[in-house]
Protein backbone atom coordinates (compact mmCIF):
# COMPACT_ATOMS: atom_id res chain seq x y z
CA UNK A 1 0.00 0.00 0.00
CA UNK A 2 1.37 3.42 -0.93
CA UNK A 3 2.24 5.95 1.77
CA UNK A 4 -0.37 8.46 0.55
CA UNK A 5 -3.11 5.85 0.52
CA UNK A 6 -2.15 4.92 4.08
CA UNK A 7 -2.36 8.54 5.20
CA UNK A 8 -5.82 8.99 3.66
CA UNK A 9 -7.08 5.75 5.25
CA UNK A 10 -5.58 6.81 8.60
CA UNK A 11 -7.61 10.05 8.45
CA UNK A 12 -10.70 8.01 7.61
CA UNK A 13 -10.03 5.70 10.58
CA UNK A 14 -9.64 8.70 12.88
CA UNK A 15 -12.85 10.18 11.47
CA UNK A 16 -14.76 6.94 12.18
CA UNK A 17 -13.39 6.77 15.73
CA UNK A 18 -14.72 10.30 16.27
CA UNK A 19 -18.10 9.16 14.92
CA UNK A 20 -18.19 6.32 17.48
CA UNK A 21 -17.34 8.68 20.34
CA UNK A 22 -19.16 11.84 19.23
CA UNK A 23 -22.23 11.51 21.47
CA UNK A 24 -20.10 10.70 24.50
CA UNK A 25 -17.52 13.44 24.05
CA UNK A 26 -19.46 16.65 23.49
CA UNK A 27 -16.50 18.95 24.05
CA UNK A 28 -17.93 22.16 22.65
CA UNK A 29 -14.76 24.23 22.33
CA UNK A 30 -14.03 26.14 19.11
CA UNK A 31 -11.54 23.53 17.92
CA UNK A 32 -13.82 20.59 18.63
CA UNK A 33 -16.89 22.20 17.10
CA UNK A 34 -14.84 22.69 13.92
CA UNK A 35 -13.73 19.06 14.00
CA UNK A 36 -17.24 17.85 14.79
CA UNK A 37 -18.87 19.73 11.88
CA UNK A 38 -18.14 17.08 9.21
CA UNK A 39 -18.67 14.32 11.79
CA UNK A 40 -22.14 15.68 12.61
CA UNK A 41 -23.05 15.96 8.94
CA UNK A 42 -22.00 12.34 8.34
CA UNK A 43 -23.87 11.09 11.42
CA UNK A 44 -27.04 13.02 10.49
CA UNK A 45 -26.89 11.93 6.87
CA UNK A 46 -27.02 8.24 7.82
CA UNK A 47 -28.74 8.86 11.17
CA UNK A 48 -26.09 6.96 13.11
CA UNK A 49 -25.83 8.96 16.33
CA UNK A 50 -25.17 6.23 18.84
CA UNK A 51 -25.63 6.42 22.58
CA UNK A 52 -26.00 2.71 23.46
CA UNK A 53 -28.02 3.52 26.57
CA UNK A 54 -30.45 0.60 26.56
CA UNK A 55 -31.54 -0.04 30.16
CA UNK A 56 -29.08 2.67 31.27
CA UNK A 57 -28.61 4.56 33.52
CA UNK A 58 -31.47 2.60 35.09
CA UNK A 59 -34.06 0.39 33.36
CA UNK A 60 -37.39 2.15 32.98
CA UNK A 61 -40.13 1.22 35.44
CA UNK A 62 -42.97 2.40 33.26
CA UNK A 63 -45.33 0.05 31.45
CA UNK A 64 -47.65 1.76 29.01
CA UNK A 65 -49.84 1.32 25.97
CA UNK A 66 -52.18 3.45 23.88
CA UNK A 67 -55.83 3.22 22.85
CA UNK A 68 -57.93 5.50 20.66
CA UNK A 69 -61.61 5.96 21.51
CA UNK A 70 -63.56 7.14 18.47
CA UNK A 71 -66.81 9.00 19.11
CA UNK A 72 -69.31 8.83 16.25
CA UNK A 73 -71.97 11.39 15.35
CA UNK A 74 -74.71 8.98 16.51
CA UNK A 75 -73.24 9.05 20.04
CA UNK A 76 -71.66 5.58 19.98
CA UNK A 77 -67.97 4.84 20.75
CA UNK A 78 -65.49 2.35 19.40
CA UNK A 79 -62.00 1.64 20.72
CA UNK A 80 -58.89 0.87 18.70
CA UNK A 81 -56.01 -0.59 20.69
CA UNK A 82 -52.57 0.01 19.25
CA UNK A 83 -50.61 -3.26 19.23
CA UNK A 84 -49.13 -3.77 22.67
CA UNK A 85 -46.29 -6.28 23.03
CA UNK A 86 -47.84 -7.91 26.09
CA UNK A 87 -50.77 -9.22 24.03
CA UNK A 88 -48.77 -10.26 20.96
CA UNK A 89 -47.15 -13.53 19.93
CA UNK A 90 -43.36 -13.84 19.65
CA UNK A 91 -43.56 -13.46 15.86
CA UNK A 92 -45.84 -10.43 16.06
CA UNK A 93 -43.50 -8.76 18.53
CA UNK A 94 -40.67 -9.25 16.04
CA UNK A 95 -42.78 -8.01 13.15
CA UNK A 96 -44.30 -4.83 14.56
CA UNK A 97 -44.77 -5.09 18.36
CA UNK A 98 -41.45 -3.52 19.32
CA UNK A 99 -41.90 -0.75 16.73
CA UNK A 100 -45.30 0.27 18.10
CA UNK A 101 -43.89 0.09 21.64
CA UNK A 102 -41.01 2.32 20.71
CA UNK A 103 -43.00 5.06 18.98
CA UNK A 104 -45.79 5.03 21.58
CA UNK A 105 -43.80 4.91 24.80
CA UNK A 106 -40.78 6.94 23.70
CA UNK A 107 -42.32 9.46 21.28
CA UNK A 108 -46.12 9.72 21.34
CA UNK A 109 -46.13 10.04 25.15
CA UNK A 110 -43.34 12.60 25.16
CA UNK A 111 -44.29 16.28 25.59
CA UNK A 112 -41.71 17.38 23.01
CA UNK A 113 -43.19 15.17 20.27
CA UNK A 114 -46.79 16.41 20.27
CA UNK A 115 -46.56 16.90 16.51
CA UNK A 116 -47.07 13.11 16.16
CA UNK A 117 -50.45 13.02 17.94
CA UNK A 118 -52.60 14.15 14.99
CA UNK A 119 -51.07 11.52 12.67
CA UNK A 120 -51.53 8.81 15.31
CA UNK A 121 -55.20 9.75 15.86
CA UNK A 122 -55.86 9.70 12.12
CA UNK A 123 -54.15 6.31 11.84
CA UNK A 124 -56.55 4.86 14.45
CA UNK A 125 -59.46 6.40 12.57
CA UNK A 126 -58.39 4.75 9.32
CA UNK A 127 -58.02 1.40 11.08
CA UNK A 128 -61.57 1.59 12.47
CA UNK A 129 -63.01 2.86 9.21
CA UNK A 130 -62.71 -0.58 7.64
CA UNK A 131 -65.10 -2.08 10.21
CA UNK A 132 -67.32 1.00 10.76
CA UNK A 133 -67.53 2.52 7.28
CA UNK A 134 -71.23 3.42 7.65
CA UNK A 135 -70.67 5.66 10.70
CA UNK A 136 -69.48 9.28 10.73
CA UNK A 137 -66.66 9.89 13.26
CA UNK A 138 -66.78 13.05 15.36
CA UNK A 139 -63.80 12.93 17.73
CA UNK A 140 -60.81 10.69 18.51
CA UNK A 141 -59.53 10.51 22.11
CA UNK A 142 -56.01 9.18 22.50
CA UNK A 143 -55.70 7.50 25.90
CA UNK A 144 -52.52 6.61 27.71
CA UNK A 145 -52.61 3.50 29.89
CA UNK A 146 -49.85 3.64 32.44
CA UNK A 147 -48.45 1.48 35.23
CA UNK A 148 -45.28 2.14 37.21
CA UNK A 149 -43.51 -0.95 38.57
CA UNK A 150 -43.33 -0.39 42.34
CA UNK A 151 -39.93 -0.24 44.01
CA UNK A 152 -38.66 -3.68 44.91
CA UNK A 153 -38.49 -2.60 48.56
CA UNK A 154 -42.23 -1.80 48.53
CA UNK A 155 -43.54 -4.82 46.62
CA UNK A 156 -41.89 -7.72 44.80
CA UNK A 157 -43.69 -8.46 41.56
CA UNK A 158 -43.24 -12.07 40.35
CA UNK A 159 -41.94 -12.54 36.79
CA UNK A 160 -44.71 -12.59 34.17
CA UNK A 161 -47.21 -11.38 36.75
CA UNK A 162 -50.61 -10.23 35.50
CA UNK A 163 -50.97 -7.83 38.45
CA UNK A 164 -50.57 -4.66 36.39
CA UNK A 165 -53.23 -2.10 37.32
CA UNK A 166 -53.10 0.45 34.54
CA UNK A 167 -54.27 4.04 35.05
CA UNK A 168 -55.83 5.87 32.10
CA UNK A 169 -55.51 9.50 31.02
CA UNK A 170 -56.61 11.23 27.82
CA UNK A 171 -53.58 12.84 26.22
CA UNK A 172 -55.10 14.27 23.03
CA UNK A 173 -58.46 14.92 21.41
CA UNK A 174 -58.68 15.09 17.66
CA UNK A 175 -61.73 16.87 16.24
CA UNK A 176 -62.77 15.17 13.00
CA UNK A 177 -65.74 17.44 12.23
Amino acid sequence: MSRYKKIIISFFIFFNLLCMLRVHLPLETKLFSAIYKPVDFYLSFFSIYQDWMMFAKNPSRSNSFLTADVEFVDGTFQTFQFPSSSSLTYGEKYKYGERFRKIISESVFMPNKKFLLKDVARFALRKLKTSHSNKIPKKVYLKKHFFLTPLITDEFIPHQSTKYNYQVTTIYTHEVI
Partner: protein, 308 residues
Amino acid sequence: MYQGSSCLQFFNHFFFEEKTTENISFFRIFWMSILFIHYLFDISNIADFYGPHALVSLSTVKEQFPFFHANLFHLSNGSYEFAFGIALIYGISIITSLFGLYTRISIVTVLICMTSFHQRNIWLLSSSEVLMRTITLLLIFTPCGNSYSLDSVISFKKRKWPVWGTRLIQLQVSVIYLWTAWHKLKGDTWVDGTAVYYATRLESFTNNTIPYLMDSQAFLKMATWGTLILEISLGSLIWFSEFRKSLIFLGIIFHLGIEYVMTIPFFEWYMIALLCVFLTPEEIRGTVNKALRILKALSQKPFLEKVS
Protein backbone atom coordinates in the same frame (compact mmCIF):
# COMPACT_ATOMS: atom_id res chain seq x y z
CA MET B 1 -0.81 -9.24 21.89
CA TYR B 2 0.47 -6.20 20.05
CA GLN B 3 4.11 -5.30 20.51
CA GLY B 4 5.56 -2.15 19.13
CA SER B 5 8.17 0.35 20.18
CA SER B 6 6.04 3.36 19.41
CA CYS B 7 2.41 4.39 19.01
CA LEU B 8 2.92 4.77 15.28
CA GLN B 9 4.25 1.24 14.94
CA PHE B 10 1.37 -0.07 16.98
CA PHE B 11 -1.13 1.90 14.84
CA ASN B 12 0.51 0.65 11.66
CA HIS B 13 0.46 -2.98 12.78
CA PHE B 14 -3.03 -2.81 14.29
CA PHE B 15 -4.74 -1.30 11.24
CA PHE B 16 -2.54 -2.17 8.27
CA GLU B 17 -1.41 -5.72 8.96
CA GLU B 18 -2.42 -7.89 5.99
CA LYS B 19 -4.58 -10.93 6.67
CA THR B 20 -6.75 -13.28 4.67
CA THR B 21 -10.41 -12.37 4.45
CA GLU B 22 -12.33 -15.47 5.57
CA ASN B 23 -13.51 -13.98 8.88
CA ILE B 24 -14.97 -10.77 7.47
CA SER B 25 -16.52 -12.69 4.55
CA PHE B 26 -18.11 -15.14 6.97
CA PHE B 27 -19.43 -12.15 8.93
CA ARG B 28 -20.91 -10.72 5.70
CA ILE B 29 -22.91 -13.94 5.22
CA PHE B 30 -24.03 -14.02 8.86
CA TRP B 31 -24.96 -10.31 8.90
CA MET B 32 -26.82 -10.37 5.60
CA SER B 33 -28.73 -13.52 6.64
CA ILE B 34 -30.09 -11.72 9.73
CA LEU B 35 -30.79 -8.60 7.65
CA PHE B 36 -32.75 -10.74 5.21
CA ILE B 37 -34.88 -12.32 7.98
CA HIS B 38 -35.45 -8.83 9.42
CA TYR B 39 -36.44 -7.66 5.93
CA LEU B 40 -38.95 -10.53 5.54
CA PHE B 41 -40.56 -9.59 8.86
CA ASP B 42 -40.69 -5.90 7.89
CA ILE B 43 -42.08 -6.28 4.38
CA SER B 44 -45.61 -6.79 5.71
CA ASN B 45 -45.39 -3.45 7.57
CA ILE B 46 -45.25 -1.30 4.43
CA ALA B 47 -48.88 -0.17 4.72
CA ASP B 48 -48.63 0.73 8.41
CA PHE B 49 -45.16 2.28 8.53
CA TYR B 50 -43.99 3.38 5.08
CA GLY B 51 -46.95 3.84 2.71
CA PRO B 52 -49.17 6.86 2.06
CA HIS B 53 -51.47 5.91 4.97
CA ALA B 54 -48.68 5.13 7.42
CA LEU B 55 -48.76 5.81 11.16
CA VAL B 56 -46.66 8.95 10.64
CA SER B 57 -47.33 10.90 7.46
CA LEU B 58 -44.53 11.73 5.04
CA SER B 59 -45.36 15.45 5.41
CA THR B 60 -44.66 15.25 9.18
CA VAL B 61 -41.33 13.55 8.50
CA LYS B 62 -40.39 16.18 5.91
CA GLU B 63 -41.28 18.97 8.34
CA GLN B 64 -39.18 17.49 11.15
CA PHE B 65 -36.17 16.58 9.00
CA PRO B 66 -35.80 19.38 6.46
CA PHE B 67 -32.01 18.93 6.15
CA PHE B 68 -30.16 16.87 3.55
CA HIS B 69 -29.98 13.21 4.53
CA ALA B 70 -30.15 9.70 3.06
CA ASN B 71 -33.87 9.19 2.56
CA LEU B 72 -35.14 8.32 -0.91
CA PHE B 73 -38.71 8.90 0.30
CA HIS B 74 -37.98 12.63 0.26
CA LEU B 75 -37.75 12.39 -3.52
CA SER B 76 -41.25 10.95 -3.79
CA ASN B 77 -44.86 11.52 -2.79
CA GLY B 78 -44.68 8.40 -0.60
CA SER B 79 -46.87 6.21 -2.79
CA TYR B 80 -47.21 2.45 -2.34
CA GLU B 81 -45.50 1.92 -5.71
CA PHE B 82 -42.47 3.84 -4.51
CA ALA B 83 -42.32 2.05 -1.13
CA PHE B 84 -42.66 -1.39 -2.73
CA GLY B 85 -40.11 -0.44 -5.40
CA ILE B 86 -37.52 0.46 -2.76
CA ALA B 87 -38.42 -2.71 -0.82
CA LEU B 88 -37.83 -4.81 -3.94
CA ILE B 89 -34.41 -3.24 -4.59
CA TYR B 90 -33.58 -3.61 -0.89
CA GLY B 91 -34.45 -7.33 -0.93
CA ILE B 92 -32.48 -8.05 -4.10
CA SER B 93 -29.43 -6.17 -2.84
CA ILE B 94 -29.45 -8.07 0.49
CA ILE B 95 -29.48 -11.36 -1.48
CA THR B 96 -26.65 -10.27 -3.79
CA SER B 97 -24.65 -9.10 -0.76
CA LEU B 98 -25.31 -12.42 0.97
CA PHE B 99 -23.96 -14.36 -2.01
CA GLY B 100 -21.20 -11.84 -2.57
CA LEU B 101 -22.18 -10.76 -6.06
CA TYR B 102 -20.96 -7.24 -6.92
CA THR B 103 -20.50 -7.14 -3.15
CA ARG B 104 -19.50 -3.54 -2.55
CA ILE B 105 -22.13 -1.95 -4.77
CA SER B 106 -24.71 -4.35 -3.33
CA ILE B 107 -23.90 -3.30 0.25
CA VAL B 108 -24.04 0.38 -0.72
CA THR B 109 -27.52 -0.26 -2.18
CA VAL B 110 -28.56 -2.14 0.99
CA LEU B 111 -27.42 0.82 3.09
CA ILE B 112 -29.27 3.43 1.01
CA CYS B 113 -32.54 1.45 0.97
CA MET B 114 -32.24 0.55 4.67
CA THR B 115 -31.55 4.15 5.70
CA SER B 116 -34.46 5.36 3.56
CA PHE B 117 -36.88 3.00 5.26
CA HIS B 118 -35.51 3.87 8.68
CA GLN B 119 -35.62 7.62 8.14
CA ARG B 120 -39.15 7.40 6.72
CA ASN B 121 -40.29 6.85 10.30
CA ILE B 122 -37.36 7.29 12.65
CA TRP B 123 -39.51 7.26 15.82
CA LEU B 124 -40.21 3.54 15.37
CA LEU B 125 -36.61 2.54 15.64
CA SER B 126 -34.50 1.17 18.44
CA SER B 127 -30.87 0.19 19.01
CA SER B 128 -31.16 -2.72 16.53
CA GLU B 129 -31.70 -0.34 13.65
CA VAL B 130 -28.87 2.01 14.67
CA LEU B 131 -26.65 -1.06 14.78
CA MET B 132 -27.88 -2.17 11.34
CA ARG B 133 -26.98 1.16 9.75
CA THR B 134 -23.69 1.62 11.60
CA ILE B 135 -22.29 -1.83 10.84
CA THR B 136 -23.57 -2.02 7.24
CA LEU B 137 -21.87 1.33 6.59
CA LEU B 138 -18.57 0.04 8.00
CA LEU B 139 -18.91 -3.23 6.08
CA ILE B 140 -18.63 -1.28 2.81
CA PHE B 141 -15.00 -0.53 3.66
CA THR B 142 -14.00 -4.14 4.27
CA PRO B 143 -12.87 -6.78 1.73
CA CYS B 144 -15.89 -8.90 2.73
CA GLY B 145 -16.53 -10.03 -0.85
CA ASN B 146 -13.07 -11.55 -1.29
CA SER B 147 -13.88 -15.00 0.16
CA TYR B 148 -16.97 -17.22 0.20
CA SER B 149 -18.51 -15.11 -2.55
CA LEU B 150 -19.58 -15.30 -6.18
CA ASP B 151 -17.23 -12.38 -6.83
CA SER B 152 -14.27 -14.55 -5.81
CA VAL B 153 -15.46 -17.35 -8.12
CA ILE B 154 -16.06 -15.05 -11.11
CA SER B 155 -12.82 -13.08 -10.87
CA PHE B 156 -9.53 -13.31 -9.02
CA LYS B 157 -9.58 -11.59 -5.65
CA LYS B 158 -6.54 -10.65 -3.59
CA ARG B 159 -6.11 -13.24 -0.82
CA LYS B 160 -4.58 -10.88 1.74
CA TRP B 161 -5.86 -7.46 2.66
CA PRO B 162 -5.10 -4.78 5.32
CA VAL B 163 -7.40 -5.33 8.28
CA TRP B 164 -8.41 -1.71 8.98
CA GLY B 165 -12.04 -2.16 7.89
CA THR B 166 -12.46 -5.22 10.10
CA ARG B 167 -10.72 -3.41 12.97
CA LEU B 168 -13.24 -0.56 12.74
CA ILE B 169 -16.10 -3.04 13.17
CA GLN B 170 -14.29 -4.70 16.10
CA LEU B 171 -13.68 -1.30 17.71
CA GLN B 172 -17.33 -0.44 17.20
CA VAL B 173 -18.30 -3.61 19.11
CA SER B 174 -15.96 -2.65 21.96
CA VAL B 175 -17.40 0.86 22.05
CA ILE B 176 -20.94 -0.54 22.30
CA TYR B 177 -20.12 -2.77 25.29
CA LEU B 178 -17.96 -0.23 27.09
CA TRP B 179 -20.33 2.73 26.70
CA THR B 180 -23.37 0.75 27.75
CA ALA B 181 -21.51 -0.53 30.84
CA TRP B 182 -20.24 2.99 31.63
CA HIS B 183 -23.76 4.47 31.47
CA LYS B 184 -25.12 1.61 33.58
CA LEU B 185 -22.49 2.20 36.25
CA LYS B 186 -23.96 5.69 36.71
CA GLY B 187 -27.34 4.20 37.66
CA ASP B 188 -28.12 3.08 41.20
CA THR B 189 -30.11 -0.04 40.21
CA TRP B 190 -27.10 -1.52 38.40
CA VAL B 191 -24.94 -0.89 41.43
CA ASP B 192 -27.42 -2.19 44.03
CA GLY B 193 -28.18 -5.26 41.91
CA THR B 194 -31.87 -4.67 41.14
CA ALA B 195 -31.63 -3.55 37.47
CA VAL B 196 -32.38 -6.98 35.99
CA TYR B 197 -35.43 -7.23 38.29
CA TYR B 198 -36.86 -3.96 36.89
CA ALA B 199 -35.91 -4.74 33.28
CA THR B 200 -37.60 -8.14 33.37
CA ARG B 201 -40.77 -6.67 34.92
CA LEU B 202 -41.43 -4.47 31.87
CA GLU B 203 -44.51 -6.14 30.45
CA SER B 204 -43.78 -5.22 26.83
CA PHE B 205 -40.35 -6.90 26.89
CA THR B 206 -41.44 -10.14 28.54
CA ASN B 207 -40.82 -13.37 26.65
CA ASN B 208 -40.22 -16.69 28.51
CA THR B 209 -39.53 -17.22 32.16
CA ILE B 210 -37.05 -19.46 33.96
CA PRO B 211 -38.95 -21.04 36.85
CA TYR B 212 -37.65 -20.12 40.30
CA LEU B 213 -34.57 -18.22 39.01
CA MET B 214 -36.46 -15.19 37.65
CA ASP B 215 -38.09 -14.75 41.06
CA SER B 216 -34.93 -15.35 43.07
CA GLN B 217 -33.50 -12.07 44.35
CA ALA B 218 -30.04 -13.63 44.71
CA PHE B 219 -30.07 -14.73 41.04
CA LEU B 220 -31.36 -11.33 39.87
CA LYS B 221 -28.50 -9.63 41.71
CA MET B 222 -25.95 -12.03 40.22
CA ALA B 223 -27.43 -11.43 36.74
CA THR B 224 -27.21 -7.65 37.20
CA TRP B 225 -23.59 -7.61 38.32
CA GLY B 226 -22.70 -10.41 35.89
CA THR B 227 -24.04 -8.29 33.03
CA LEU B 228 -21.78 -5.40 34.02
CA ILE B 229 -18.70 -7.59 34.39
CA LEU B 230 -19.34 -9.36 31.10
CA GLU B 231 -20.02 -6.15 29.16
CA ILE B 232 -16.81 -4.56 30.45
CA SER B 233 -14.88 -7.74 29.59
CA LEU B 234 -16.40 -8.01 26.13
CA GLY B 235 -15.40 -4.42 25.45
CA SER B 236 -11.83 -4.78 26.67
CA LEU B 237 -10.44 -8.27 27.40
CA ILE B 238 -11.74 -9.66 24.10
CA TRP B 239 -8.69 -8.05 22.44
CA PHE B 240 -6.37 -10.42 24.30
CA SER B 241 -5.93 -13.88 22.80
CA GLU B 242 -5.96 -15.52 26.27
CA PHE B 243 -9.58 -14.49 26.88
CA ARG B 244 -10.95 -14.07 23.35
CA LYS B 245 -12.52 -17.48 22.65
CA SER B 246 -14.04 -17.94 26.10
CA LEU B 247 -15.45 -14.39 26.04
CA ILE B 248 -17.00 -14.95 22.60
CA PHE B 249 -18.61 -18.13 23.97
CA LEU B 250 -19.85 -16.37 27.12
CA GLY B 251 -21.09 -13.44 25.04
CA ILE B 252 -23.14 -15.74 22.81
CA ILE B 253 -24.68 -17.47 25.87
CA PHE B 254 -25.39 -14.04 27.41
CA HIS B 255 -27.21 -12.77 24.31
CA LEU B 256 -29.14 -16.04 23.86
CA GLY B 257 -30.18 -15.79 27.52
CA ILE B 258 -31.53 -12.27 27.01
CA GLU B 259 -33.32 -13.43 23.86
CA TYR B 260 -34.99 -16.26 25.81
CA VAL B 261 -36.22 -14.08 28.67
CA MET B 262 -36.87 -10.79 26.87
CA THR B 263 -38.05 -9.69 23.44
CA ILE B 264 -35.72 -7.10 21.97
CA PRO B 265 -36.18 -8.00 18.31
CA PHE B 266 -33.03 -8.82 16.38
CA PHE B 267 -30.61 -6.94 18.65
CA GLU B 268 -29.22 -10.06 20.33
CA TRP B 269 -28.75 -11.80 16.96
CA TYR B 270 -26.90 -8.82 15.53
CA MET B 271 -24.62 -8.78 18.59
CA ILE B 272 -23.93 -12.53 18.27
CA ALA B 273 -22.96 -11.99 14.63
CA LEU B 274 -20.69 -9.12 15.67
CA LEU B 275 -18.88 -11.26 18.24
CA CYS B 276 -17.90 -13.58 15.37
CA VAL B 277 -15.84 -10.73 13.83
CA PHE B 278 -13.31 -11.45 16.57
CA LEU B 279 -12.69 -14.97 15.24
CA THR B 280 -9.50 -15.22 13.20
CA PRO B 281 -9.49 -16.13 9.48
CA GLU B 282 -7.78 -19.43 10.42
CA GLU B 283 -10.51 -20.31 12.91
CA ILE B 284 -13.26 -19.54 10.39
CA ARG B 285 -11.44 -21.47 7.63
CA GLY B 286 -11.03 -24.47 9.97
CA THR B 287 -14.72 -24.43 10.99
CA VAL B 288 -15.96 -24.06 7.41
CA ASN B 289 -13.70 -26.89 6.19
CA LYS B 290 -14.87 -29.11 9.04
CA ALA B 291 -18.53 -28.37 8.22
CA LEU B 292 -17.89 -29.13 4.54
CA ARG B 293 -16.20 -32.45 5.42
CA ILE B 294 -19.20 -33.44 7.58
CA LEU B 295 -21.63 -32.48 4.82
CA LYS B 296 -19.60 -34.45 2.29
CA ALA B 297 -19.48 -37.50 4.54
CA LEU B 298 -23.23 -37.28 5.14
CA SER B 299 -24.00 -36.97 1.43
CA GLN B 300 -22.07 -40.19 0.71
CA LYS B 301 -24.11 -42.32 3.18
CA PRO B 302 -27.53 -43.79 2.47
CA PHE B 303 -30.47 -41.71 3.69
CA LEU B 304 -31.55 -44.02 6.55
CA GLU B 305 -28.03 -44.13 7.93
CA LYS B 306 -27.95 -40.34 7.95
CA VAL B 307 -31.21 -40.16 9.92
CA SER B 308 -30.10 -42.70 12.49
